[in-house]
C-alpha cells in the first residue's frame, strides 16, 4: 500500500502548476468483521477500502477533496487529477483565508508493523471451545490499517500496522452482562483465552439477587473502562483551543483558572508509545502535550488553523483538536485493595451514553452499564440495576476524588465509524467519595 501511495504522491506532484502547493492524506484498511450473537456468527464480511484527501493551496486560498481509491493506480491517479482540477476551479471563488497556516518542514516519519494476525478459522475454533456454552455477543475486527501523509514541501509520513480488536459481552440469563475486550497487534491464543475465562468468572457474580438503589450520593469505584467514558467526554472539545476560545469547552473554567481538579489528576496527550500515527491529519508531527497537571490546566490542543486565529503556537493537534492518546497519571491504590478501600458503595465497571447536562459547569450525566455491583464492607453483594448519574467533573475528579489506581489499562478504541480507529487511552480506575445518582 505504501508503494501505491508513493505513486499517487509522485503523480500529484508532477501535475502541480506554478504557485500551487498540496498536501495529501491517505487512509486504508483491509478489515475482517465478524459479529457474534449467542456465541454464533451473526454477520461476517470483509471490507477493502482506501481514500486520499487532497488539499490544494494557492495565493492564500485552500480547498480539500476526499476521494475513494479503487486500488488501480492509473484510475486512482486520474481521480486525483479530476479532484485537483475541481479544486483549481474552486480556489478563485474563495476569499484569501486569513487562518491558512502550513507546516512547510520536510519531516519524515515511518512506522511499519507486520506481525501476522490469526487465521479466522483459528479464532472461531477457539471461541467455540471456550465460549460455546455462553451467551456471547460482540465483534471481532482485524486486519492491516495504513495512514499516510505527504506534502509538496517534502513531508512524508507512513504508518502501517496489523491489529485486531475483539470486543464482547457475556450475558447472564437474568439479563445482566459483563463486558470484555482483547485488542492489540500481537495475538496470543493464551491471552485471549485467559481474558475470556476472567469474564466467565465475573459472570458468576451477576447471578446474585439484584440490588436496587434509590437516588442519592454514593461512594463509588469507577473502573478504567468507566473512566474511559468520562475521558471521552473531555475529548469532545474539552482541550480544544478553538472550543476554549469560543465558550464551547467543558473545561472553560479550569483553563480560565476559576476552577481546579484534584491534585491527583494529570492528563497528557501521550502520542509516543501509542498505536496512533506519529503525524496529524493536518500533516504535522504529533507531540506529547501535558494538558492538566496536578489538577491545574496546562497546555491545550492547538491545530494550525487555531494557532493562526487565536495567535497561539500549534502543537501537532489534529484539525478537530481532540486527543488521540489521552493518558491519566496513575495514583497509589493497588488493584487488589480496591474492594477493601471502597468499603461500602458501588463498583462500576462501565458507564454508558454520557452527555453534558450543563457544559460550562462540566456537569455530565450518564448511566451504569455492564457489571455494576453493590459492595458492603469490601464484599460484592450483587449486581445493581441500571442507574443514572448526574455530576460535575469538578466533583468527581475534584473534591470527591479519593485516589486513582496504581495500575492503568491501555484501552484501544473499538470505534469503526467510517474506518477502524487507531485511538487509545491509558487510564487508572478512580475511587470517589460521592457519586450522585438521580434516577
Amino acid at each position: 500500500m505504501k508503494h501505491a501511495f508513493e505513486t499517487l504522491v509522485g503523480d500529484v506532484r508532477k501535475a502541480l502548476q506554478t504557485g500551487e502547493q498540496f498536501t495529501l492524506g491517505y487512509s486504508a484498511e483491509q478489515s475482517q468483521f465478524v459479529r457474534f450473537n449467542h456465541a454464533k456468527v451473526r454477520q461476517a464480511g470483509t471490507v477493502n477500502q482506501a481514500g486520499a484527501q487532497l488539499r490544494l493551496i494557492r495565493d492564500g486560498r485552500q480547498a480539500e477533496q476526499q476521494v475513494t481509491l479503487s486500488g488501480d493506480t492509473q484510475l486512482d491517479s486520474q481521480r486525483l487529477f479530476t479532484a485537483l482540477e475541481q479544486l483549481r476551479q474552486t480556489l478563485p471563488l474563495l476569499a484569501v483565508d486569513p487562518y491558512l497556516r502550513l507546516d512547510e518542514s520536510a519531516w519524515h516519519s515511518h512506522s511499519q508493523q507486520e506481525q501476522p494476525l490469526p487465521e479466522l478459522s483459528d479464532v472461531l475454533t477457539l471461541l467455540e471451545r471456550e465460549a460455546g456454552d455462553l451467551d456471547l455477543v460482540g465483534i471481532y475486527a482485524a486486519g492491516p490499517i495504513c495512514r499516510g501523509f505527504a506534502s509538496s514541501f517534502g513531508a512524508f509520513g507512513w504508518h502501517q500496522a496489523n491489529s485486531f480488536n475483539f470486543d464482547w459481552s457475556l450475558f447472564h440469563e437474568n439479563g445482566e452482562a459483563v463486558k470484555a475486550n482483547y485488542a492489540g497487534q500481537v495475538w496470543s491464543a493464551d491471552d485471549f483465552t485467559a481474558r475470556l475465562r476472567q469474564a466467565r468468572e465475573q459472570l458468576g457474580f451477576l447471578g446474585r439477587p439484584a440490588v436496587t438503589l434509590k437516588p442519592g450520593s454514593y461512594r463509588a469505584y469507577l473502573a478504567p473502562a468507566a473512566m474511559d467514558e468520562i475521558a471521552g467526554m473531555l475529548c469532545w472539545g474539552g482541550f480544544s483551543a478553538q472550543a476554549l476560545a469560543t465558550g464551547n469547552s467543558a473545561l472553560q473554567r479550569l483553563y480560565n483558572g476559576d476552577a481546579r481538579l484534584s491534585p491527583l489528576v494529570s492528563f497528557t496527550e501521550q502520542v509516543s508509545g501509542s498505536l496512533s500515527p506519529a503525524f496529524s491529519d493536518e500533516g504535522s508531527p504529533r507531540l506529547d502535550v501535558p494538558l492538566i497537571q496536578q489538577g491545574e490546566a496546562r497546555q491545550r490542543l492547538i491545530s494550525a488553523r487555531s494557532a493562526a486565529e487565536f495567535e497561539l503556537l500549534a502543537n501537532g493537534a489534529d484539525s478537530y483538536e481532540s486527543p488521540c492518546a489521552l493518558s491519566l497519571a496513575a495514583g497509589s491504590l493497588p488493584s487488589e485493595q480496591i474492594l477493601e478501600r471502597l468499603g461500602t458503595g458501588l463498583y462500576i465497571s462501565n458507564l454508558w451514553y454520557l452527555n453534558y447536562s450543563d457544559l460550562p459547569a462540566a456537569r455530565m450525566t450518564g448511566l451504569t452499564r455492564f457489571a455494576t455491583f453493590w459492595v458492603e464492607n469490601g464484599q460484592i453483594q450483587g449486581p445493581v440495576s441500571t442507574m443514572r448519574f448526574d455530576d460535575s467533573l469538578y466533583s468527581l475528579l475534584g473534591s470527591q476524588l479519593e485516589d486513582l489506581t496504581l495500575e492503568r489499562e491501555m484501552i484501544l478504541s473499538t470505534s469503526t465509524y467510517g474506518q477502524r480507529s487507531t485511538g487509545s487511552s491509558h487510564l487508572p480506575g478512580a475511587l470517589v467519595k460521592g457519586l450522585t445518582l438521580t434516577l
Binding site: R42, Q65, L124, I139, P360, L367
Partner: protein, 480 residues
C-alpha cells in the same frame, strides 16, 4: 443520473458464482460542506466515494465482501471472497436463511426536485457570509457559524433473482449556530444543523428559515445568557418539534428496532425494554399517541421506495391509539421473529452491511393549535431545540436537555430560562402524553447522525412531529 447502470448490469451479468443467491449493492456518494465561521469562510470540503458490496448466500449462510475495485476482476474477486467466507463460517453460523424470501423487484426512486439546479459554490458561500455578517457586534457573542451541507447519493441493487432497484437522492443540511459567553457561562442557540435536513433542492433553505435568521438566533443566545436557570420540580412539559424528534428517536425509535430485541446489538448500541411478545399487547403511550413509519413524505430524509435489502416500503402504524403494533424490523428480522415489520434494513454506504435502522419515524398530528396547547397548561415549561441526550442501553431511563426554555403559568408563556433539562422513563413517559398539536405545529425534521451497529454506521433518519404536551415531568436546570 445512474450513468454507471449499464456498466454495472453488464459486469453483474458476467459474474460467476456457485452461491444460491448473490447480490451487488453499488453506492456512489458525493458531498460538499461549506461553512462561514465568525465571518471567515472555512476551507470548502468535497468528497467523492464509490464502491460496492457483494453478498452471497451459500447453503443458507450469508457473507459479504466490500470493495472499491469495480472492475470485472475486482467484483469477481470480492464475490469469491464472500463465498469463501460463507463456507468458512458455516459451522459457526447463527442463522439458516435458506427459506428467506428473495426480492426480484425492479424500481427507480428519485428525490423530489432532484434535477433542479442548486446555486453555485460562490453563491452558496455568499449566502452563508451574509448570514454570518448579520450577527450583531456584541463582545459577548464569541462564536457563530453558518453552514450548508449538500449530499448526492445514487444506489443500485442487483441480485441473481433479477432485482434491479435504484435510488437517486439529494440531501441538504442548512445550519446556523451562535454562542454567547460572559467568561463564566456560555449559551448557544441554533437553527437546523443536526436537527434539520431534508431531501430535495434549494427550496429546503427556505423551509429551514435560514435566510435572515442570524440576528434573531444571536438575540436568543444573549437572552439565554441573562436568563435564570430552569427551576427544578415536576411541570407539564410542552415539547416543540425540534425536541420531539429527539424524544421520538431515542425512546420510541431505538427501543422498537427488532435487531436490538433479538440481541444483536447488546454489546454496543444496547437492547430494549420492549420484548417480542409486547407487539399487539403493550399500551406504549396514551390513546393520543399515533406513531408511523412513513417513507412517503417526499422531502423527509429517509423517504424511499425500497430499503437496502429490496423490501418495498409503505406507511405503517407502529403505535396506534397508544397500542404497540409492530417493530422496526426489516425482512431478515421479520424472518427471524415471525413478526410483521417495515422496510428499514439500511446501510450507511457500500462498505457496511444493512441492519435494522430507523428511517422516517413520525408522530401523527392531533387537534390542538399551539395556542390551545399553551392555554391547557397551568404550571409548565416549553422547551425547544435539543442540545443533550442520554438514555440507558435498554432505552428506558432518559435525560434530555434543550437550548431554549420558557415557563408557562396559568395558560400563558412567561420568562425565558436557561439549561432546561428533563428526565423520565420511556415506558411511563408516553403514557403522560396529554395533548397533541395539530398540523399547524407539525414539522418535517431529521438528523444525519444516527449511530449504531458493529461495525459502526451513521445514517440519515427523518422525524416529523407536532408539538406535544406531557403531564408532570421531572424538570431541572444547570449548576450556574
Amino acid at each position: 443520473m445512474f450513468d454507471t447502470s449499464a456498466l454495472l448490469r453488464q459486469r453483474f451479468a458476467a459474474l460467476r458464482s456457485t452461491a444460491e443467491l448473490f447480490s451487488l449493492r453499488h453506492v456512489k456518494q458525493s458531498h460538499q460542506a461549506l461553512s462561514v465561521r465568525r465571518n471567515v469562510a472555512e476551507p470548502p470540503f468535497f468528497s467523492q466515494d464509490e464502491g460496492a458490496m457483494l453478498t452471497v448466500r451459500v447453503s443458507g449462510v450469508e457473507a459479504y465482501a466490500a470493495t472499491a475495485d469495480l472492475s470485472q476482476a475486482g467484483l469477481q474477486r470480492a464475490l469469491e471472497q464472500a463465498e469463501a467466507l460463507a463456507r468458512q463460517i458455516a459451522r459457526y453460523n447463527l442463522l439458516d436463511l435458506r427459506e428467506q424470501p428473495v426480492t426480484s423487484a425492479r424500481h427507480d426512486h428519485i428525490s423530489p426536485n432532484f434535477d433542479q439546479p442548486v446555486p453555485n459554490l460562490a453563491d452558496c458561500l455568499g449566502l452563508l457570509a451574509a448570514e454570518s455578517a448579520s450577527v450583531p457586534k456584541d463582545s459577548r457573542l464569541v462564536d457563530w457559524q453558518a453552514s450548508l451541507g449538500l449530499s448526492l447519493v445514487e444506489q443500485t441493487y442487483l441480485n441473481s433473482a433479477g432485482a434491479e432497484l435504484r435510488h437517486a437522492q439529494r440531501f441538504l443540511f442548512p445550519g446556523l449556530g451562535v454562542t454567547a459567553s460572559d467568561g463564566q457561562d456560555s449559551q448557544s442557540r441554533s437553527l437546523g444543523r443536526d436537527n434539520f435536513g431534508q431531501q430535495g433542492g434549494f427550496e429546503i433553505i427556505e423551509r429551514c428559515g435560514l435566510v435572515g435568521a442570524a440576528r434573531r438566533v444571536a438575540d436568543e443566545a444573549l437572552q439565554l445568557l441573562l436568563a435564570p436557570n430552569t427551576p427544578s420540580g415536576p411541570r407539564d412539559l410542552l415539547l416543540m418539534p425540534d425536541q420531539m424528534m429527539l424524544q421520538i428517536h431515542e425512546s420510541i425509535g431505538h427501543p422498537l428496532e427488532m435487531d436490538r430485541i433479538l440481541g444483536d446489538e447488546r454489546n454496543y448500541a444496547g437492547t430494549s425494554f420492549v420484548k417480542a411478545g409486547d407487539f399487539g399487547h403493550l399500551q406504549y403511550g396514551s390513546a393520543l399517541l399515533n406513531v408511523t413509519f412513513d417513507p412517503t413524505i417526499g422531502e423527509e430524509l429517509a423517504s424511499y421506495s425500497f430499503d437496502d435489502d429490496g423490501t418495498p416500503a409503505s406507511k405503517q402504524f407502529l403505535i396506534r391509539d397508544g397500542l404497540l403494533l409492530r417493530p422496526l424490523g426489516g425482512a431478515l428480522s421479520q424472518f427471524r421473529s415471525g413478526l410483521d415489520g417495515v422496510a428499514n434494513s439500511r446501510a450507511c454506504g457500500w462498505n457496511r452491511a444493512p441492519i435494522d435502522r430507523m428511517a422516517n419515524l413520525n408522530i401523527e398530528p392531533g387537534g390542538q393549535s399551539l395556542d390551545q396547547l399553551v392555554k391547557g397548561i397551568e404550571h409548565g415549561i416549553l422547551m425547544r431545540t435539543n442540545r443533550s441526550w442520554s438514555i440507558d442501553d435498554a432505552r428506558n431511563k432518559f435525560q434530555f436537555g434543550c437550548e431554549w426554555g420558557q415557563l408557562i403559568e396559568n395558560g400563558e408563556l412567561k420568562g425565558i430560562v436557561k439549561n432546561p433539562n428533563y428526565r423520565g422513563i420511556s415506558a411511563q413517559f408516553w403514557r403522560n402524553l396529554a395533548a397533541v398539536g395539530d398540523s399547524s405545529t407539525f414539522q418535517v425534521l431529521g438528523t444525519p447522525n444516527c449511530g449504531k451497529g458493529e461495525p459502526n454506521q451513521v445514517v440519515r433518519v427523518g422525524h416529523a412531529s407536532p408539538a406535544c404536551v406531557f403531564r408532570q415531568i421531572d424538570v431541572f436546570g444547570g449548576d450556574a
